[in-house]
Symmetry: D2
Subunit: 465 residues, 4 copies
């Protein structure tokens, strides 16, 4: 494998471990779909989102196409139509079913897709079982398997954000999982009781503690190292590791909270063009935006938001999520004006440099998928240093998603994984409450367009010194 | 009840009969949904169509709102949210869930909706059972019940045309009910086998007989009577019966067939502006239309179409369906050019006058929903007179859907049923293979915009003498 | 000439008279463009409108193409590109420059177009001069000449409505011709003085008289004659004359006024769906319509409107104009509700029958183009019978623009003049303050889609008896 | 003035020199509009472009608003409406006339705008004449004057690219200035002779020399200085100068030519997704792009393009222009595939570092506006080193237009000049054949979205070493 290929960084002794991890990751995906009905799994709420059923099938298609089709002796497809139906965007593999119509495919149904998963799982297990460490393909199989697992973890997060968006379109506001707090019913947008849901439980998230005050952590100018280092897995877009000059800067110790955003809204943040980029202000006006995604006024001056546990009153101490880049940038400018400082979003290099400089691991104690909260949580104590760098909310940066210097996409179809999206998007760092903990790295590059709101995306402030 | 109200034309002795008919119509609706999975019932394939689940709930909402809420002692709604979720367009009743988002309501689920239907059915039965013939409300209850049943029959047809459209968006082309003929697989649009469908059955519709030749039935000038007469049910838009002068004209003895449409396509019908209205040609160009809805080329010069029994080769002898008004008008003009005659669509008055002039009832032997064909069928024999006036295909007329002279909408919310749609639509007559036989009348006025293609809509030719 | 051809109804002795009329009509068109600068003549303010320059060239193209090209010996085009640039929609003649881009053709410039007009005028005059009454083509030449003049008169009206729309897009609200009244400056929409316009003149239209009260003129049921009769010119769409049964009805004696519309607006007419057709309410909501075209609030509770004489305060006694069919229909329903009567728009047959029944000619004393008012005027006195049937405002009918029974388009390219627009439009009758008096007939059929507002279109009420 | 304000870098002795430069720049703008008719100056061909008349007025508005209004004693506006009509996007100054409707303002006319320019010029001259070197405002006046002149130079280029786009929409393809070569008439898109243009002149640009071969100039890794240095004028977006680490790279010695682009088109460049970014391929498909802007096939396998001298055959040796970022990126990838090298666009830091490293000034001998060519020209001789860095074509970089580290917008309304556009655009460097020579710097940052094609934008290749 040359440097243009995917890294063959799994040693042959990893075969049993890979088989084990495969089972775990695959089971995790099914567990995330378990609370949903077949109808929930079927529907696509907008072109950017995909049905749960499609996620379940597509990640399986990935293993079928890139592992079984290439390495299984006597390969035959589970169903010939699936090659088209569940191909996301790999032109090299062939045609794709149009993305906005994924929700129209009612057949195969969920039983078919569960059978598809089971069969592919069994065949992958058999393939790994019969693979000899001395087989010349073993390194490549392991390498592609690793990519498939990382890919499936990405879709675990998307499954949650997509189903959240779908449920939010329903005026009875169903829960993905119950854990609700009492709700102030807004006068103009009645919250109906769920159809079959007799009781409500007190929320575990009610926050009584004061928020951790905003503080600053300074960094000197440096020729920082950016990008992936070491032998573990990384996507091609994290490579190559390279030097990048960083001017002196300072980072906020924590994420911006819902309470700070309430103040932005209350001060007319969505009505004054001076806080916004020109394109951001156009977005506000064209979409008549008056508040963040999922917020609704209660009618008595308060606000509720929608979570995977249903509609809840806003807790001012939780980190802000579901804001797009335009909103993140505008609120940073407004907060800077409040404090008389030129506040802004951090650059990717600044963020990554800061994460790498931390004494304790930046992602330790992070609120990731495994916490089960499925929502950001308030800072539990007066944290030291940079808190919340990992988990809770993806952090928008001021950096465009562009190739690292010397970047080369992987060879073959998997080369379409990242490289062809490197324009007109912004980089996000650190993972969220819906990201598997094992999936994240300091060099990890998430990316979305500047108007995307349905991910768990938030804001950490920065400033040039 | 004044003439502005719905007709109270049901006698008190009709109470048991109404209870019986109610059960029959309601059961028929559920039977139509029976072949579908919960996922099939959930999805909305375009803004004009509705999910099966929504149809099942909305027709129930109609009885709950217009019968139970008004006449049931101690009425309480099944669920408060349903008033909004399943209101189609009755502004008088209150807010409506946005039509294009009907498919996003995954909860209530199908089990909830079945429970909703069962409870409303039981309560309606109880209401009718306890209603005394001498009760001053009985006539009105029966009148609204009748309207509810007619309404539900309309949705039975829409349920079929909407699910057909949904299934047609799936490249594996599932069947609503099996009854397939062998298919010529098109090279560029592969037809995959259904996911779990081992065998194919020979089609019952293969036509070996010659088509009945086109012939003409003449009518003299007359002051015709148009609109509903008699004591049976009719919608407000069929009233009042009124005189209308009709110039001498002639009507084709049968519907235009798929074979005639194949000739239109083969002659470049979709590429020459001279056959089209200006707005029709704009529709062709803007949508790059090259063939009727559901047609696909086989790759060897043939065509297939999509039916509720799956994709099948085109049978030239079956009446043409799924053409919009622009296409119907253009093909009539093209056929006129072929024959050297100024052919056109009939007017509503011509059609209704002709139907009323028939010796045997115009709808006798018609291919309606009850035949189970769910598709037009070839004329079985050399029929005499006007054939296929009832069933097979709704017949586009050259008449706009406007109020009859002296029209007054019903009083109250049901006055929104028809009147507010009387602009920018064209009238269709006669019912289709998806229309319940008991639902149709000569005065019945169906209506759709000139670009609607997903109904079972076809063409009968006419000419001025 | 058969009945399918244009009528050859001009006698050979008409040659000098035709030459004279040609000069008059052509000069009238230039006179209408005279107050405009070259830049005014260049710009297209919306796809439905055309630049003045295009109007001037297109009507000339009509004579060049349909008269000179067919009948002039040794014909050569003025410029080969004009065949495409100034063809409106005649597919038979060849390609057309895209309608929405007519305003982008800065060259040829106005001097070129004036030269084009002068040359064509001279060649047409020469052709007519050398045409012998015994020439077998003379009748056809005269027939096409007549069509060309009628066509040019239609564009005279469009020139005025199109330039009015263009000027209305300019926040300094220039005048086409001065005749302004003092204006209440609205606080939020400042009216700036024209760039070079030192003085304002008192308006000649200030109305002090009371409005003529609304009264009704009754008509009995009749088999009315509809369509063109006699030997004068008529468009193909007015033919053939045919019987049409009309039920008893009554017509309002005058047009609806600005004052009545002010009451509709004040009563929330644009905020209550119950007055509107479903499609009309969608139009209101989608376009956030709160008032008629050209109206602006003054800030102190009053309203101004835009006229060809600039922005003026609303005179409640002038007939209402610039309302589309949706608005006309809704206001009629609202006025009916106010009066407890089912008021509606008249049908075309009712209107035409009523016009033909009048003792004095219905169009006598009408406020047509020749009055120079270029705006509707209040009824001068307590008029008897049906007033304002001709001129002031085109009257929306409740009839769709469909072919008369037995309609056949003219043969050849001129057959594209009317027939291909006979769908999805409504008929208007009677002419407006921008229509040449000689252009109008009782059988004349103007037509526009239900959302068109920029013509001088108004409302006369009707009711079934 | 603090660092947040515009630089007051003009010394007081510059007053007479500023008055002189003001006259020169203002006269240059009028000279560019001189070949155009009033109608040419009036029309807006697309929302991104502006009418010439608007450019002439807006740059004058800039001096009136930012110089006269602030510093002229007894200031009164030329016309109160101009504050709105000719404000481009300065929210701080007040409302703006909607950009897509700039072409609808036919009044004020060109005579008014010429009078506006003359009056403002006279008042500015008077202000400068009476300004004493010791006046405390002098430095600021000079600073804003300088900004106004730089601003007007930017609009000189836009005036040319906008008028080129307008003329290209006219199927008779008028010339801005004559200098035409004979044209192969394409069969399907006839080129008509200009309306009044008897003769054609031989082109001065016919190229017989071979193209300069592509060669590479290498650069070592460095901590480069990026951004503006020195005391001359620079926009705020060029500041502050800052270090940026650059990895080893190599730059092509010249721009990509029309000939190389012909090979890309011939090889199916616009039909294969593998060369394109995902968003680029969507752009190709959505717009059915098959060739660069302004190209038309001749019908015999050749191509023509549209220039300010009219439609001409493509000269393969001239640098390519009018490609957007998607096209530039795709063609670079395709050329890399042809040569077996990972070719790409240079980053902004690479380009600027390379320009600063040149022994002779990078912009010397550049084909700028002053050459009068108004089109790129072939490399005259076998140039040494990096040729064509200045002029001919703006060079797309692989860098997003983001703030330099430590960037602060100027204080006040002029702070809206650049900063609020720093998202979703890409940086271009070096100037074009329509850029005034004196306007350009190595640190100059031009920026456009990735789909913009109507500027003189081209490609220089780069590669990581």
């Amino acid at each position: 494998m040359t440097s243009h290929l995917m890294p063959g960084n799994a040693s042959e002794s990893d075969l049993p471990r890979m088989a084990q991890r495969y089972l775990q990751v695959r089971a995790q995906t099914l567990a995330l779909a378990a609370p949903l009905s077949d109808a929930d799994c079927q529907v696509q709420s907008m072109p950017d989102a995909s049905p749960t059923k499609w996620h379940l099938a597509h990640v399986t298609w990935f293993f079928e196409t890139f592992v079984l089709e290439r390495f299984e002796p006597g390969f035959a497809p589970f169903h010939p139509a699936f090659r088209v139906l569940f191909n996301s965007y790999y032109q090299t593999v062939g045609a794709q079913h149009p993305r906005p119509q994924r929700g129209l495919i009612t057949r195969p149904d969920m039983a078919d897709i569960r059978a598809y998963r089971a069969q592919v799982d069994e065949r992958v297990a058999r393939l790994l079982h019969h693979l000899s460490p001395s087989n010349p393909h073993t390194a490549e199989v392991l390498s592609v398997m690793e990519l498939g697992l990382q890919h499936e973890q990405q879709h675990q997060e998307l499954l949650l954000t997509d189903i959240k968006h779908l449920l939010s379109c329903n005026p009875i506001w169903p829960t993905y999982l119950p854990a609700c707090s009492p709700i102030d019913l807004p006068a103009e947008s009645p919250v109906y009781p769920p159809v079959h849901s007799p009781a409500r439980h007190p929320t575990p998230h009610a926050s009584v503690a004061d928020a951790t005050p905003l503080a600053w952590v300074n960094f000197e100018a440096a020729l920082a190292n950016v990008g992936h280092a070491g032998t573990g897995f990384a996507f091609d877009n994290e490579c190559p590791r390279h030097p990048a000059w960083v001017q002196p800067f300072t980072l906020a110790n924590r994420l911006i909270t819902h309470g700070e955003w309430l103040a932005f809204v209350a001060d007319g943040g969505y009505t004054h063009p001076q806080w916004w980029m020109s394109a951001g202000w156009e977005w506000v006006c064209a979409n008549r935006v008056t508040a963040p995604q999922y917020w609704l006024p209660t009618g008595n001056g308060g606000w509720t938001t929608f979570t995977l546990h249903g509609r809840v009153p806003i807790d001012p101490h939780t980190p802000m999520v579901h804001v797009n880049w335009f909103e993140a940038d505008a609120c940073a400018r407004w907060l800077g004006h409040q404090q008389g400082l030129p506040l802004r979003l951090p650059t990717e290099a600044e963020w990554e440099h800061a994460a790498n400089c931390q004494a304790t691991h930046w992602a330790e104690h992070g609120n990731f998928l495994e916490s089960g909260a499925l929502h950001p949580v308030p800072l539990a104590s007066r944290a030291q240093g940079l808190a919340q760098m990992g988990g809770d909310a993806w952090e928008w940066t001021g950096s465009s998603y562009l190739p690292h210097p010397g970047y080369q996409p992987w060879a073959g179809a998997v080369g379409e994984y990242n490289g062809k999206f490197m324009v007109n998007q912004m980089v996000l760092k650190g993972g969220s409450c819906a990201t598997p903990r094992a999936h994240i790295r300091a060099s990890y590059r998430n990316f979305f367009p500047t108007d995307a709101r349905w991910q768990f995306t938030g804001v950490r402030l920065a400033r040039s010194l």
